[in-house]
Symmetry: D2
Subunit: 284 residues, 4 copies
Amino acid sequence: MELWYTEEHTEDVRFSIKVDKVLYSGESEFQRIDVFYSKEFGKILTLDGLMMLTEKDEFIYHDMIVHVPMATNPNIERVLVIGGGDGGTVRELTRYQTIKKIDMVEIDEEVVKICKTYIPQTAGKLDDLRVQIFFEDGLKFVRKQKDEYDLIIVDSTDPFGPGEGLFTKEFYGNCYKALKENGILVNQHESPYYSNYANSMIRAHRRIKEFFPICKVYQAHIPTYPSGHWLFGFASKTFDPIEDLEENKWNSLGLKTKYYNTELHKGSFAIPNYVKELLDSEYE
Amino acid sequence: MELWYTEEHTEDVRFSIKVDKVLYSGESEFQRIDVFYSKEFGKILTLDGLMMLTEKDEFIYHDMIVHVPMATNPNIERVLVIGGGDGGTVRELTRYQTIKKIDMVEIDEEVVKICKTYIPQTAGKLDDLRVQIFFEDGLKFVRKQKDEYDLIIVDSTDPFGPGEGLFTKEFYGNCYKALKENGILVNQHESPYYSNYANSMIRAHRRIKEFFPICKVYQAHIPTYPSGHWLFGFASKTFDPIEDLEENKWNSLGLKTKYYNTELHKGSFAIPNYVKELLDSEYE
Amino acid sequence: MELWYTEEHTEDVRFSIKVDKVLYSGESEFQRIDVFYSKEFGKILTLDGLMMLTEKDEFIYHDMIVHVPMATNPNIERVLVIGGGDGGTVRELTRYQTIKKIDMVEIDEEVVKICKTYIPQTAGKLDDLRVQIFFEDGLKFVRKQKDEYDLIIVDSTDPFGPGEGLFTKEFYGNCYKALKENGILVNQHESPYYSNYANSMIRAHRRIKEFFPICKVYQAHIPTYPSGHWLFGFASKTFDPIEDLEENKWNSLGLKTKYYNTELHKGSFAIPNYVKELLDSEYE
Amino acid sequence: MELWYTEEHTEDVRFSIKVDKVLYSGESEFQRIDVFYSKEFGKILTLDGLMMLTEKDEFIYHDMIVHVPMATNPNIERVLVIGGGDGGTVRELTRYQTIKKIDMVEIDEEVVKICKTYIPQTAGKLDDLRVQIFFEDGLKFVRKQKDEYDLIIVDSTDPFGPGEGLFTKEFYGNCYKALKENGILVNQHESPYYSNYANSMIRAHRRIKEFFPICKVYQAHIPTYPSGHWLFGFASKTFDPIEDLEENKWNSLGLKTKYYNTELHKGSFAIPNYVKELLDSEYE
């Protein structure tokens, strides 16, 4: 059977995956949601036609968005996840016994429902007792918080459609306010390679820098995202992700991970010259 | 105009680039050679339909295959490049005044001719006086060498077609012999993500380990190669690429690079757990 | 959303339709069944990935497979449809008050169920009281019949997979036997343009000619079938489709049709020289 | 090698051909010109990315645009071809000894040059002594002619780009004037199936009807044109293409044709009901 999912990375670049079965297709109030099955990637979630995750490589994204801040400050107890409706970020967080509270704010309840039904690999820990899910706009939710969280993870879609507000100056300012005095903000930070993504990356970086004294970028290989070169932002009030890395402490936890390790943690902050130049550029 | 170049990364994964112009298409004695022009990537070279380089991102591959060994041992004087007909590896090598001799062995003279005509960006330094090109089989060439080179760079195609011999045990053994007592062997090492490439990676790694006491793998983000996650092998008789890295010395050379820097050098050897497991696996 | 259905007409020719929604995907005992929705074509039925019908142009196929024999012999009362699980052929037959009995033999009950649920446009008349559906192998069914039908319509898939037996010499011989003394056999007859289809066409034609004194081929424009040039076979014991055409009688019925008319009926038997040569060729 | 030519028949329909070799690509003053080689179709000519002809099936188009008028009036002596730079229409015309003069007006000299070099199958008769080529705008050329030709063939591109003027009311009026008292105008008439083409068809038909007392449409199966269902317009001052068909006379000429025959001639004017309705519709 020849059914192909195609994502246009740019007008001139197409990435196509043979779809063996469409498990779900529907429109929520906010976006189109599709779940495919592919021999190569297992289950695939797309929102508005953009790749969100595949069973084959979601571990890369979720390892990197969670374990990097957690190994930097293993004393994190209160976490806010903004977006992340597939549950993968929460799944990794629940592995830490020391975390006491995980608030997740997802604008689209449908995404959570569908992932619970079709993608238990990521959604299976959303019922953990420490997790509370708020189905509302992350931007509005964070406005109301003050001095509340040790860690905020922005696990959003791209800044087109429902995820747009999560890339604004107002949002980052509110995150700063919502964090405790030694709080950490981690966000998915787009890609440096194709210019439309690179522009989002530059803009996000500049805005976060206005609020946080420490503001770095780290990278991972995520083959199913445009260019396969994906970035995360690490911003904090006090912690440096390299100098403060609690290598022994994290390793003593004995968490088994398929992508992350503490060597990689350090290595992932070493970014190519061309990415550094983009991040420092005046261009927006 | 709608003309698309499509590379099948696996049976179920296609990567397609809109081609604005086909600059050259032909069959050499060894393989099919095509040069395209794309708005997104500039000139593109493919051999037997497989992506070799694009003007947009060839700097990543060539930075990583050359500067990693050169910053580990800045005293390298005699270099052998096997393959590399596009000239990009030689171009980076010629930037080192300290290098006295660069032998390049390329099986397919046509590739060199065509790159000189169509892709001067990479081929422009093949006429450097220190460079001598041998149009013959790399496997046969290296058999005849003994205690000759400080560095061998295997800049080959995938181990299908003409590049096949450059992934054999015999070849690596001959490289060992051709290197001086503190020689370094660097090779393009395929990708860990899709199983056909991962198998080549595992096989190459195991074979190199049989000869070289130091045998490591480092990674780069090359968006136009399958999965965008590409590996290089670093093998040597004495040098460790991290411990022996001559950070200050390399930086004092003042070479401007778009991808490589000495932080990235160290970071690139920190590889994901799943890749380590593959490299250590018994499976071939 | 970028989901594309692709049919490979040959190894070198792909026809792709943007799919807005996958309405059904499943495997029956006999074949894979998919129902898509496309903005351009409405609902689409594919079996084993091959295009069967679209809401936009199914009228062409069903007009031509039914009205050509019915206008040649308006006295037809007993009809056997072999295949045709989508119901479109039966729908057109039920428009004739003079038809008393329609037996339909479809090997795959799932196809009928799914078309009733998803494609009422074609399946809506399968409950007509004159229709009796037999879920069994058409080849076996017809073996048991003798002197029973005025018209047999073979509305089969291509001669790959479940439809294979419906292109054999034994099958056509049994059809001859199952027909009354002035019976007509109409079958979908593949396409003359691409060689794999043309070979099936040649083979079918030769085999039918061995049994039926009158054996002609007529054509229609079906844009969603490979090449858009599709043929039907008209074989009979006594009726000639042109000389015996009951033009006035058929027109007096007042049936509204979107493709068929009696001028077109005559015109459709005028086939290109290259098709005639293929049909007369010795090659199989 | 995976290089694919893709024509978008509509936004939701893509027709793709595997290209073995790009023989020529360039921009003339008027349009982009490409010549491909494909295993399935042989040489392929595209203008501005739109399919013009393939070696495999150009005989269909050229048979139908030339032999239909020539069999209707075998006394035609003076012919004007507008467009037709590939030479296929002229090639068929030169087979008639009775034709004394063939003027061809092609706006783009590059097209003729390239077809002479790469596609002699169609361009091989452009040097016939009766042929005179004018490289100018067909609309302007025909303005200057009066009572000059027995037959005008408009062998144009689609009414987008350089071919646009050849679908205007002014143009058809000038054709009428340029024709002798029993002159015939034949033009490629787009396709009824996809709405963008159907609109061009409707518009052309309405405009021609305003000038010519006899105005009919005939059809052919051209698999490489959008939908495979292509139309031609036959307009004339006196000749009816069916009633006046000189069947015996044409057949006595002994011209060997792969598509056309006089039965098909008559059959091709029998068009489907839905096409008739479109042609009669008020919609433009």
